[in-house]
Amino acid sequence: MLIEVFGPGCAKCQVMEKHAKEAVEKSGGGHQVVKITDYTAMASRGILSTPALALDGQIKVQGRVASSDEILTLIQG
């Protein structure tokens, strides 16, 4: 599964990326985490507030940091 973390590099966005990687570890791996910092890419995906998280192109979380457990549930769900 492709996990995208959107954020221009503010503190919250870094926490989100860390949580995403932790979630992948807990799930046993096999997922790819990509950090997207480019405003153009964010805007063209329709993201209004950062940090945001998308799974396989679908935006799941926006405007807040999700815990690694929550991301894990999203990956498994």
Binding site: G7, P8, G9, C10, A11, K12, C13, Y39, T40, M42, A43, S44, R45, G46, I47, L48, S49, T50, G57, Q58, I59, K60, V61, Q62, G63, R64, V65, S67
Partner: protein
Amino acid sequence: MSESVRPGFLRRGGWLLLALPLWFLVYHFLEPFANALTTRLFGLDLNGHLGSAVAFFFYDSPKVVMLLALVVLGVTFMQTFITPEHTRDVLAKRAGAWGNLLAAIFGIFTPFCSCSAIPLFIGFVRVGVPLGVTFSYLVSAPMVNEVALFMLLAMFGWKIALIYAGTGVAIAFIAGWVIGKLKMEHHLEPWVMEITFNAQAVTAAAEQRTGFSERLELGVQGVKDIVGKVWPYLLAGIGVGAFIHGFVPAEFMARFMGSGHWWSVPLAVLIGVPLYSNAAGVIPIVQALLGKGAALGTTLAFMMAVIGLSLPETIILRKVLKPRLIAVFVSVVAIGIVLVGYLFNFIM
């Protein structure tokens, strides 16, 4: 059966029933405790310069942190009901002055982080929210900070809180309306309108969290995030406040920030713009300034300039706005703040 799978009462938010009375109990005893600490432990005189500064610091630090925690909990909880997506969808259908007013009011309650300014700006403009309406929101969101608003309410009463919110909304309304009238759409950087844009993805991903305990959990997370991040600003602000409180002679501030000098308001704004602080960090300074005879209008202008016009945000916005539009944005807001300062110095 269902009993065993549901989380316990405490975990579903029942802990609030225990925590809230405890909060009020501790809050009630903060001042006598701070005074006792200053006199007994440090052996200082409460009427002396150092003593009153130290007592101010020991009283204000826990007080502001406790208020901040309560306010952030409430505000984050509330914000789970109002997201930027809702705001955008409502504003996309409005044109004219009504849209500006609505955008300015929405700006009070929606969370805003300057790192989200660009995607938010593009998202608004591209679904058809008029440029002027977008600016009303962009001015109001940082300037009328929801946390600062409720902190003012708790520390200075409803009148000052209402003045702050009312004037902030008025500035945002007028600034956005003026920018709309100037028809500056061609002063956007071209890529803003050229990139492919897909708003569908977000609408489809509308978040599913609706339960009380989930919203409360987000509130607690917000408290951890925000208090964890702003405490250095807070302590710095309280430190400055304590110094002013203890060492600056009473009525001294009246000489510089009193209502008798026409130049005091623009000066306060000029000093406030490059200063960048979290909204909560400004409150203790405001408290100390008002206590030393600074005029309300001047103090308010200072606070709004610190919170509402920030250099980092302006630099970020440069990516989507051409210099001329940036200049119009900053000057319209600065003029608005100065006018508010004069207005309240004149009334009070």
